[in-house]
Structure formats: C-alpha cells, structure tokens
C-alpha cells in the first residue's frame, strides 16, 4: 500500500532534516576544556524521527485529502456529534447533563489536590477563553492585548484588599466592571483599525498596562508584586489548604456555568447576531443598520468583563501577583485556546482551554521536553484541523417549536 514514491519522499525529508539540524543538534562546543563535541547519534535520531514522521504525515495528508477520516478525526466527529446533541436534543441532554454534573461535582474527591488545583487553573482559562471568544470568535476583532483586562481584574482585587480590606466576593463584580470600563477605554481609539493593525495596537495596550504596573511602584508595588492576597472566604470559616483549593474549584465551576449561560444567550440574541455580522462583513453590516462603533465597543467591554473577573479569581488563587504574570504570552495562550478550540464555539473553547492548560501540566512527565512537545502539538493540530477541534455550529430554527 505504501508506494515506493512515498518512501523516497520520506527519505528525502529525513536527509534534509539531518542537514538542517546538523550544526545545532550535532556540534556543541564544550566550554570547560574548549573541545568540540560531535554528537553524531543525535543526527541519527533526527534522521530516523524525520523519516517516520514525514511518512506518517504523508499518509495522514493523503487520507485527509482523500476525505475519509482517520481515527483522530473520527474521534472529533464523535464529540462534535455529541456536542450538537447536547445543545439541541432534550432527550440526550438531561442524562448527559446529570452524568457530567455528577462527575464535575465529585472531581475534587476522585482526584488529588494537585489535579483539582490545575483543573481550577484550566477553568480560569475557560472563562478567559469564552470572554475572548466574544471579541475574536463572534465580533472577529483580533485582540492580542486581552491580558491587560486580566491584569486589571487581578490588581483591582489585590489593591482594594490591601488598602481597604475589600473581600473576594465584593471584589469579583468590581473587577468585572473595571474590566468592562477598560475595555471601552482601550476599545475606543482603535475603532477604525482592522485586522492585524488592530492586533498590534491591542498588543501594545497590553504591554503598556504591564509596564505601568511594573514601573509605577507607588501604585502597584512594582515588580516585587503583592503577596498574601487572601483566598476566597466562606462566611469567615477558615479552611484547610485542601478545602480551600476545592472551594476555589467550586467557585470557578459556578462562574464558568454562569459564563456559558450568558455567552450562549448572547450568541443567539440581537447583539450576538450583530457581532457575527460585523465579523462577516463590516460594510454590509452597517448597511443593515447596525452601529459599528457601538457594537464593537460592546464586544470589547463584554469580553473584558470576563477577563476582569478571571483576574480576581486568579489573584485569590495564587495569593501573589506581580506584572510578570501578565505578559504577551498570556494573551497568546488565550488566543490559542480560542482558535484551537474552534472560534465562536463554546464547547470548542472549553475543550481548547482544557487541552492547552492541562497538556503542559501532564507533559511535566517529559520535564524539559514539554514546551517542545507543546509547540509541536500546536502546529500539528492546526495543520490537521485548521477549523479548530470543535468548529462552531450555527443555531437551526424549526417553525413548529417557538423560541428556545
């Protein structure tokens, strides 16, 4: 079944890769007694790896082109199918919901504290992802400065708590509101910009916020950050570490459900449709009587709200924040979540967050290789599923049953 041609192709690939990786992989100058190490076996590995991979790749690409799905795709089809059911079909919906709920609720007791903790982190990113999804997935505005609002949220809790002893539960809505306000402030000047120009300017804003936090000690305590931020309180009962971690987990579950609920409703509302129209075609969108500026600002503001709340929870979870947590990479990660998951699709974003946040944690087994693998995963996933893991499905209307 493998044509000679394929093998030749793979051979060529491996030779090319051996050439390519030669200086960096093979040669290393030993800094102690200045001699050159020639690590020829690395070259062999590289060659072999390249051969196998390119062989597989060709194979997969052939299949992909041939259109008949390989296992990976099948798997995704499956989830897609289920997700569709979950959304539409009541019969499948309730049993599924019950099972999922039970699993989610018992999670902290089934798994270790560590598992719960990283799951909470993942959930924070689910929130962020869903928020950014409003801006990018629905309104189609490429925002690379999203982390700015995250920072706003985190610092608003940390500072309010530090100065006025504001508690988590009060700070949560405040963080959201502040996020929204910043969303509008930052959104306003960039209304005219499109595509990558918007991207780079928002990226700029993100950096500006970070740098201000870094330099303006009087306000933000600078790079040494703010420590001993209290974890969320439960009617003043003080909880053990374990309990605390579980508590945060449940808070996040609550918030995520809330987010999903809101995003879902927005998606199929007048506003949501306006956003999508804006994404699809600005000119036509205006010609349909939609106020471009207002719609864009709404998207920015709403997106930022979730970032703000996420920030508050983040601060409460880590108990320490400093500007280093809010670099461009954070924005990039969140962007990856949205795109990888499938732009505009709620389940997609959730899956995306789970994959991108939990993957590096589980890749710890590979210790120093983890980021390498992570990078590779990003590329492969995009190459084989450009639309994201679970692409968006438009809502269907049938005319017997009315509004749902």
């Amino acid at each position: 079944m493998f044509s000679f041609n394929e093998i030749k192709k793979s051979l060529a690939a491996s030779v090319w890769l051996m050439f390519l990786t030669f200086p960096i992989l093979v040669i290393r100058v030993n800094t102690v007694e200045n001699v050159v190490e020639w690590r020829w076996k690395n070259m062999v590995y590289a060659g072999a790896a390249a051969f196998i991979i390119s062989f597989l790749a060709n194979f997969l690409v052939k299949r992909k082109e041939a259109g008949n799905k390989n296992e990976k795709d099948k798997g995704n089809k499956e989830t897609l199918f289920i997700s569709q059911r979950l959304l539409n079909d009541k019969r499948f919906f309730f049993p599924a919901l019950v099972v999922v709920t039970i699993f989610i609720l018992s999670f902290p007791f089934l798994f270790s504290m560590y598992q719960t903790s990283i799951m909470s982190t993942a959930l924070i990113y689910v929130m962020l992802g869903l928020g950014l999804n409003i801006v990018i997935g629905l309104a189609g505005l490429l925002d690379l400065g999203y982390v700015a609002f995250y920072a706003v949220g985190a610092y608003s809790y940390a500072l309010l708590n530090h100065h006025f002893g504001i508690t988590f539960w009060v700070a949560l809505p405040i963080g959201g509101v502040l996020g929204a306000i910043f969303g509008i402030i930052l959104g306003y000047p960039v209304l005219r910009l499109r595509g990558d120009y918007l991207a780079i300017v928002t990226l700029g804003f993100g950096e500006i916020i970070r740098l201000v936090l870094e330099n303006w000690n009087a306000f933000s305590f600078g790079p040494s950050g703010i420590s001993n931020i209290p974890r969320p309180d439960l009617f003043g009962i003080d909880l053990s570490l374990q309990a605390n971690i579980n508590f945060i987990y449940y808070i996040l579950i609550g918030l995520v459900i809330f987010t999903i609920f809101v995003v879902n409703r927005l998606q199929n509302s007048r506003i949501g449709r306006a956003w999508i129209a804006l994404r699809e075609d600005e000119i036509a969108c205006q010609a349909m009587g939609i106020d471009k500026a207002k719609t864009k600002l709404m998207a920015f503001a709403l997106g930022a709200t979730w970032a703000g709340m996420g920030g508050v929870v983040f601060a409460a979870k880590t108990t320490f924040i400093n500007p280093a947590s809010f670099t461009i990479w954070e924005s990039v990660m969140i962007l990856c979540i949205v795109v990888l998951g499938g732009m505009g699709s709620v389940i997609g974003v959730i899956v995306g967050a789970m994959v991108l946040i939990l993957l590096p944690e589980y890749l710890r087994a590979f210790s120093e290789y983890r980021m390498l693998i992570f990078g590779t995963m990003l590329v492969t996933m995009m190459v084989f599923r450009p639309g994201g893991i679970i692409p968006d499905i438009r809502k269907k209307y049938t005319f017997e049953e009315k509004d749902k």
């Binding site: 390519l20 960096i24 700029g204 330099n215 795109v339 390498l372 990003l378 590329v379």
Partner: protein
C-alpha cells in the same frame, strides 16, 4: 542645548533602528505576500546567530584566521537560516494556505515555541559569549567614541540590504512575481506564476536577512541565548507595522522611527517608560494613518 548629547542619542537611535530594520524586513516581506504574522521569524534570527557562533568557535578551535572565520560563519549562518525559513514555511504554513488566517498564526506561534526549545535542549539555556566578529577598524578609531565600528558596519549593512531588497522587488522577474502574488494569488497563478515557489523564495530571502541581522546584532551586543528572538521579534514587528507592513522602505523607516523614539525618550525623559511611549506612539500613528506611515491605505471596493 547639548548638541553632542543629541548627536549621541541620534546615532544610538539610528543603530537601534537599523537593528530592528534587519529583522523587520523579513517580517514585512512575509506579511506582504501571505498576510501572516510570522511569529517564528524572531526564532530564525536566533538560529542564524547560533549557527554563526557554532561555526565560528569550531573554526576558531581549528585555528583559522579571523577573516576566513567571519566570512564562513556569516555565509553558513545565512544558508542555514534560509533553509530553516524554507522548511518552516513548508511544514507549518503551506498546509494552511486555505485555512482561516488565525489558524496559520497559531501554527506560527507553535513553530516559534518549538524552535526556541529545540535550541534550548540541543545547545544550552545559558547566555553564550558571542565573539565580536567585526574588529575595531583603526581608521575609524578617531570617531569610535561616537559610533563604534560595529555600529558603523550595522548601519552600512542595513542600508545595503534594504537597497538590494528594493531592487530585487522592483526590478527582477522574481520581484515582479512576488508583487503579483502579494496582490492576488489566484490571478498570479493564472498568469503562470508558480505561487508556491515565489512564497518559498520570499521566506528564504526574509530568513537570510534575519540571519544577517542575527550575526551583526549578536556581535554588537556580544551575547546570545535561545530566547533572544522573541523580544527583538515583537519590536521588529511593531516597527514593520508602524512603517506600513508589506512595504520594504516602510519597514526601515518604521524601525528608525521606533529606534529614535526609544533613544530620545530614554535620553531626555526616562527609560522606565521607554516601551510604553514607543507603543503609545505606534497607536497615535495608526490612529492618524490606519495603515502605517508608508502603507498603501487599502480603499475597500464596495
């Protein structure tokens, strides 16, 4: 008014600008042709520097003479960066031509992560001293306290590279083909341009420039590590956008503007908010010229 200080800052900004330019050129070429923010470009530049270092130290241990080392190191670095650029495009971007543009962007990010850690693992996480390949010219000694020989070389090279690229794009057949492809891939293909070949060429050329940048910059600041590509890359991209992404002179102009902005702001106000100011400046420029200083403002057809 302290004129010498002003001059110093001016030259400082000029050097910094030229450094950005050497990276920005590659960005802008790639973007111009496939509208992709090539996140991995900074990494290519880093790889260029590493290759040069490795080659140089190997030859050094073999006791070759200085000039030979310089030339060989640079040439090999350029070849390898070009090769990397070519491969990256084939692996990570070509399959995504038809896909949504963001997917390509994510793929680029993945590539950048991969290359960083590849070098980290295969070589070292430490900062490595980079031999100053460019000697201090004696004839330049009188002026060296204002502008070092290395800086001089950087300025000249940038100028030359820019001129060559402009020439390539404006007058050669390949250049014409590139512009055609940038305009409209389908049409270009219809008139018999091998679009894939042209895109590959763009990547090769872009990466080669990055390598030149890598070698020069590394020998200017005298150290490299696997992470050097990221920040430089971001800055260069900002510069490219500022100048009007897709335009060669724009990239250089943008880089210089950025360089001067930072230099003067640091010099007269404070380096604390240097970048803040740089970004604000970018925002202001884009608000008044939404497609950059020299960018052709796309009048959208209705």
């Amino acid at each position: 008014m302290d004129w010498e200080y002003l001059l110093d800052l001016f030259l400082g900004g000029l050097t910094r600008g030229s450094i950005y330019a050497l990276i920005a050129l590659g960005y802008t070429m790639v973007y111009g042709i496939i509208e992709l923010i090539n996140f991995a470009h900074g990494e290519i530049y880093m790889i260029g520097a590493f290759t040069a270092l490795i080659v140089a130290s190997v030859l050094g241990l073999m006791g070759m003479n200085h000039i030979v080392i310089i030339i060989l190191a640079s040439v090999i670095a350029i070849i390898y960066s070009a090769a990397y650029g070519f491969t990256v495009e084939k692996i990570a971007y070509k399959p995504l031509r038809q896909a949504p543009r963001l997917s390509a962007l994510i793929s680029a990010i993945g590539m950048s992560l991969f290359l960083q850690n590849y070098v980290l693992l295969a070589q070292t996480s430490n900062f490595l001293p980079f031999p100053s390949l460019i000697p201090d010219f004696d004839f330049w000694e009188p002026y060296a306290h204002i502008l070092t020989s290395q800086e001089l070389v950087i300025l000249i090279t940038t100028a030359v590279v820019m001129i060559l690229l402009t020439f390539l794009i404006k007058f050669t057949r390949t250049g014409k083909a590139m512009r055609a492809t940038a305009q409209d891939k389908v049409m270009a293909a219809l008139v018999g341009i091998d679009v894939n070949r042209i895109i590959s060429t763009t990547f090769v050329v872009g990466s080669a420039t990055a390598a030149i940048g890598g070698v020069l910059i590394a020998s200017h600041i005298g150290q490299i590590n696997f992470y050097m590509g990221f920040i430089a890359g971001i800055k260069a991209f900002v510069a490219a956008v500022m100048g009007g992404i897709g335009s060669i002179p724009g990239a250089v102009l943008g880089s210089l503007v950025l360089g001067w902005t930072e230099s003067f702001f640091t010099g007269y106000i404070s380096s604390d908010y240097e970048d803040v100011f740089a970004f604000l400046f970018l925002v202001v420029i884009l608000i008044f010229r939404p497609s950059g200083i020299l960018g052709r403002s796309e009048t959208q057809k209705v």
